[in-house]
């Protein structure tokens, strides 16, 4: 069950981080002000080729995330185009106050890049998981939060972040990201992408959960004749309220799917908007529940909590 036929070939899927590295190298060719600042994370960030090609444009901080963000803010204040790269778990917790104060409040337009986010680190455990970052960072003024879902979105996100006059948080997973759509090539911060049209149910996903949502939609269509709309809500903040209102006005159930705590993330952001604007669609938030996260690989953890093709399809059948 669940053979995906319409999704494009995965054979060319790259990890986000490979796209990140190659895109930064392209940008650095013409932007000598572009700096990558890392906390001993050039290896895990796939940035070794960048460091070899542009040794003067990679600033190593050492394992000191608070300093990473503070120094990045200082560099950005002088006009440097700074990508501050560190595992999302540490970047958005250890240095949360530097993000809040030195980056967002001071409006030093650092491009914060949280790598291996969500439960990408799998069996390394909760120290290495970032299931809090949307919730924490959504409450910080002057910060755009972007979670690309395939290689196309990743490259676009990096290019747009590099142009942003205000701070951006980019959240990257670790595994290869199959191309979601060859038809919809629009990518703008704050504008969700409709990956697939459908009238029976709306699946709003972000990052690495968009692909299983798309797989689930194929399964639902093939097996049950259910037509699910699938949206890549790559920008968590500012959320695309216009798109939300449009799809909610259809009246069909809405499911949100995220590799994040069910508290304070994409789902609650959508729910807040919908409830306050008179929409009463059936609504379900899929994410990681508020408990000690089950141990296992990323795939095992995601499957355990239903953040999978079958899990999402089953949830749709329950809510319909």
């Amino acid at each position: 069950m669940g053979e995906v036929t319409a999704v494009l070939s995965n054979s060319t899927a790259q990890a986000n981080l490979d796209v990140f590295s190659s895109t930064l190298q392209t940008l650095a060719e013409t932007d000598r002000n572009l700096l990558v600042v890392t906390s001993d994370s050039r290896g895990s960030g796939k940035l070794v080729p960048f460091a070899q090609k542009f040794p003067k444009q990679l600033v190593e901080i050492g394992i000191a995330e608070q300093n990473l963000v503070g120094v990045a803010a200082g560099l950005a204040s002088t006009g440097k185009n700074v990508f501050a790269v560190s595992p999302a778990c540490f970047l958005t917790a250890r240095s949360f106050e530097q993000i809040k104060t030195d980056v967002a409040y001071s409006n030093n337009p650092v491009r914060l890049v949280g790598i291996s986010a969500g439960v990408s680190y799998g069996a390394l455990g909760s120290t290495h998981h970032s299931l809090h970052d949307f919730a924490a960072l959504r409450a910080v003024n002057n910060l755009t939060i972007v979670v690309p879902a395939d290689n196309f979105e990743t490259e676009q996100a990096i290019r747009q972040a590099a142009q942003s006059a205000t701070p951006v948080y980019l959240r990257f997973g670790k595994k290869p990201m199959p191309l979601l759509s060859d038809e919809n090539r629009d990518f703008t911060f704050g504008k969700g992408r409709i990956i697939q049209e459908g009238d029976d149910v709306v699946l709003i996903a972000t990052g690495e959960t968009v692909y299983p949502a798309l797989q689930a939609s194929r399964q639902l269509e093939t097996v049950h004749g259910i037509h699910a709309m699938v949206i890549s809500m790559h920008t968590i903040k500012p959320l695309d309220y216009e798109l939300l209102a449009n799809v909610a006005s259809k009246g069909c159930p809405i499911l949100t799917v995220e590799e994040h705590s069910v508290f304070g993330g994409l789902g609650e952001a959508c729910a807040s908007f919908l409830l306050q604007n008179g929409f009463r669609n059936r609504f379900k938030i899929m994410g990681i529940p508020d408990e000690y996260t089950v141990t296992g690989s990323q795939v095992e953890i995601m499957n355990h909590y239903g953040l999978s093709e079958n899990g999402i399809a089953n949830e749709v059948l329950t809510i319909l």
Binding site: L35, K56, G62, A64, G70, S77, T78, Q98, D102
Partner: protein
């Protein structure tokens, strides 16, 4: 400015600090009085910054890590023409930009601060940028001795020497007191010179109220080529007002009308002679 001119300035700055704290009914009185002579020397004799050059990429930067003594910074920036002094009438009022910690919405302020332990990292990044671009500007940051237990300071101190940032100068306003009492009793950071030297800094001690000594220290920067410089400025909390000096309660104490008049009576041009 010569020493006498600086001394006169410091008396006026102290009167203004108290004036606006009294008007706002809020402020960090003791620390503003302990660091004001340092700011005086920096802005009048050291920094190549002015309202006209504030947008220049090669201007010297000043980052006040101990943001809570913002009243000292405000009165100096007003005196240097960054904004009309009358703006300070709105200190801490509804919708005023002149709040209790520095923000970039106030002309002349480089970074928003207020949470302790942030200024040194910001300054390291700013100084590193100068090195990357072969610019000659220098970066100065004022730390409180009470904020030094913040671990981010030591992360930044390590990196400053790693990158040989001899265009960076940190000044510790070592007034020895914080809210809970003497800094040495709250969390002792002495011997501070040895700690920073071990982190690869070049360190000097100065009397933080001695204009000649401060000027000479700043003139001697960098203390060693290839090393960041630390000035440990020994200061007196509440300096210049007898009943405020070395009294913890004046950390953020606000004078009443009688105390204010008493303080003004002490802060006269004659006081400058003894500073």
């Amino acid at each position: 400015m010569n020493v006498n001119e600086l001394a006169q300035k410091s008396v006026q700055y102290r009167r203004n600090i108290l004036k606006y704290i009294v008007k706002a009914k809020a402020g960090h009185t003791g620390g503003s009085l302990s660091c004001i002579d340092i700011l005086n020397v920096l802005y009048n004799n050291v920094l190549n910054v002015s309202p006209e050059t504030f947008g220049s990429p090669n201007r010297d930067r000043y980052v006040q890590s101990k943001g809570h003594t913002v009243e000292a910074l405000y009165v100096v920036l007003a005196d240097k023409g960054f904004f009309p002094e009358s703006d300070l009438e709105t200190l801490c009022q509804y919708k005023s930009h002149y709040i209790g910690h520095p923000t970039r919405k106030v002309a002349g302020v480089e970074q928003n601060t207020g949470s302790l332990g942030h200024g040194l990292s910001l300054s390291v990044g700013t100084a590193l940028s100068a090195k990357l671009d072969d610019l000659t500007y220098r970066v100065f940051t004022l730390l409180g001795d009470g904020e030094l237990p913040e671990g981010s300071n030591w992360e930044a101190a390590l990196l400053a020497s790693h990158y040989k940032l001899d265009n960076l100068c940190a000044i510790v306003d070592k007034n020895g007191l914080q809210i809970a009492g003497p800094t040495a009793e709250v969390c002792n950071t002495d011997p501070l010179d040895q700690k920073f030297e071990a982190f690869g800094w070049a360190v000097r001690h100065v009397d933080g109220h001695d204009f000649q000594a401060l000027t000479e220290a700043f003139d001697a920067l960098p203390f060693e080529p290839g090393k960041p410089s630390l000035i440990i400025a020994h200061t007196v909390k509440g300096k210049g007002v007898s009943f405020m000096e070395n009294q913890v309660k004046w950390h953020h104490g606000v004078p009443n009308a009688e105390q204010y008049q008493q303080a003004l009576a002490e802060l006269t041009p004659e006081l400058a002679d003894s500073l």
